[in-house]
């Protein structure tokens, strides 16, 4: 052991410096780019939260869900209806979306207890396909706005500030709101997974029978996982509705569910920071690939899903971890 205390403190110093620079960078970012880019970065954060929710269920708990677009849609509509019909302030819709989607997810979790593997994937696939049709249903048009959806207005920033010659616009303000909410959700998830509950969830994923034998209450934990996952993705949906200022049934098709799954797989299953990679991926790849052809993003995603399963089963984060551990192995 070569002077462990000094190395430790030095190492911690570097880590703190890294985090500090990252924080400063994140805070200054919206003022360094155009308004539209700030909007895109907010969407990256929104998707990161949604992917985090899906990762909690599929990566950490092993329950395959092809239907998280449904929870995203419920969260978005809860926020839109509260803001538009009941004039609730935008920040209050987020806890409401969390609660509603937790209840919805918990309810969905009950039949899911009897389903495993393919059947759960199938049932959630069906849920994702059915949701846009449900949202367009004529009898609830008064509340949901039917096919045309609900148009919202972007909240104005509560104070005026200028940095780098740029004003604090609504888009930039929403970026900071998204950043705060994302930070909160990531912290919540990290805390949840660090303790008893996290270990129970992973045990249920790896060997449900052994977990039951060890005293983990399987139905409660599996439903809880569904509920928490739905709640987190629901908050993402609500935030997305606020950032985009528009909700319509056709924004929440099966494509959204599949894209969230792509985000989880590419970013890294069972990886919390991977959610951010996945989100950057699904936000920017369609923009770049659309130039080639309308179907190019789908083809790229398909090829990547298959490629990741062969080459990078733990996604980008897994790959990075492998590279990092090999480098460290050589240096020491």
């Amino acid at each position: 052991m070569t002077r462990p205390d000094r190395n430790d403190r030095l190492h911690r110093g570097w880590v703190l410096l890294g985090w500090g620079m990252l924080a400063l960078g994140l805070l200054a970012l919206p003022f360094l780019v155009k308004n539209y880019r700030a909007f895109q970065f907010s969407m990256v954060l929104v998707y990161a939260i949604a992917i985090l929710g899906l990762n909690l269920l599929t990566g950490f708990n092993g329950q395959i869900s092809l239907g998280h677009g449904a929870f995203y849609a419920v969260g978005a509509y809860v926020a839109a209806i509260l803001m538009d019909r009941l004039s609730v302030p935008y920040w209050a819709t987020l806890p409401a979306a969390f609660a509603c989607c937790f209840a919805f997810g918990f309810l969905v979790g009950f039949p899911a207890l009897r389903l495993a593997g393919h059947y759960l994937a199938l049932a959630t696939f069906a849920l994702a396909l059915a949701v846009p049709q449900l949202l367009k249903y004529k009898r609830i048009e008064g509340v949901t706005g039917g096919v045309q959806g609900i148009v919202l207005s972007k909240p104005e920033p509560p104070f005026a500030v200028r940095m780098f010659e740029q004003p604090l616009t609504a888009d930039r303000w929403l970026y900071f709101v998204s950043l705060a909410v994302a930070g909160l959700m990531f912290l919540l998830t990290w805390n949840l997974l660090r303790g008893r509950i996290g270990r129970a969830l992973v045990a249920v994923r790896d060997h449900p029978i052994a977990a039951t034998a060890m005293g983990v209450n399987l139905p409660v934990f599996k439903s809880l996982a569904f509920g928490m996952s739905a709640a987190i993705t629901g908050v993402a949906g609500a935030l997305g509705a606020i950032v985009v200022a528009f909700v319509a049934p056709d924004s929440f098709t099966i494509t959204l569910s599949i894209f969230l799954l792509v985000g989880v797989v590419v970013g890294g299953m069972a990886s919390i920071p991977g959610a951010l990679f996945g989100a950057v991926f699904i936000q920017f790849v369609p923009d770049i690939a659309d130039g080639l052809s309308k179907s190019a993003p789908a083809a790229i995603y398909g090829a990547l899903l298959i490629g990741c399963m062969y080459l990078l089963p733990r996604g980008v984060m897994g790959g990075l971890q492998q590279v990092w551990s090999r480098w460290r192995g050589r240096a020491h």
């Binding site: 092809l66 199938l122 396909l129 249903y137 052809s293 179907s295 398909g302 090829a303 899903l305």
Partner: protein, 290 residues
Amino acid sequence: MEALIFQIQSGIANGIIYGSVALALVMIYQATHHINFAQGEMATFSTYMAWGLMQAGWSYWAAFGCTVAVSFAGGLLVQRIVLRPIERAPVLTNVIVFIGLLLIFNALSGMLFDHTIKTFASPFPADAWFASAYFPAHQAGSAGVLLLVLGVLFAFFRYTSVGLAMRAAAQNPESARLVGIRVSWMLGLGWGLAAAVGAVAGMMVAPVVFLDPNMMGGILLYGFAGALLGGIGNPLGAVAGGVLVGVLENLLGAYVIGTELKLTVALVLIVGTLTLRPDGLFGRKVVVRV
């Protein structure tokens, strides 16, 4: 009363299409114990191929035959190249690869044949001898074709040695290997057959719902519901389940909830079957050892 009969027969006509998709799904499930989420997109791509051939001047039945053959080969190749390496991988990996295939086939349909809606010719003229007031020519014709396909498959599995080998490989791969059956190739064959059946179903459904890359989305869901309702291990049950789903869809749509929530009906059917009677109406109870 007339209206009820009309709804039922229309339901049966649709149901036979759902039944053939269900049959393709059950065939892959029986062979590999995986649910093929990409079935619908593969069928759509095959239908586009047939459309392309007909645009190039081929006659309907020539294009039909060629498409079925190419789909069979395509299904076999997909199993050999993409799916064999992950045969023993966990369920999640397989599901993700299936979704990847879904995306790729959907994108291929869109990229090679563009996204405009196309009309697809029906081989059955409107005044054919088998048309009637209750069964328009195309519905009756497609029902006939699909029943013929069913019959051929049944005969294949029952009376040929390759069919017997496939059944053996699906039921007990280890023993089948010991007897000398190349189980891996049987899986590929199963995929090829399923792709071919899917192609026929796609070509039968395209004249009715028009050809576009997302044609099979809802139909796939009904195929799933039918396969589950009939028992996912039972091919005949799957077809019966598909017909049942078709009739239920029409009756519920006409008399109970209106035509707008059809996919929700499918969802309720799927979740209901999986929770209340997971082995389906005609399936056998499978007990899993811990």
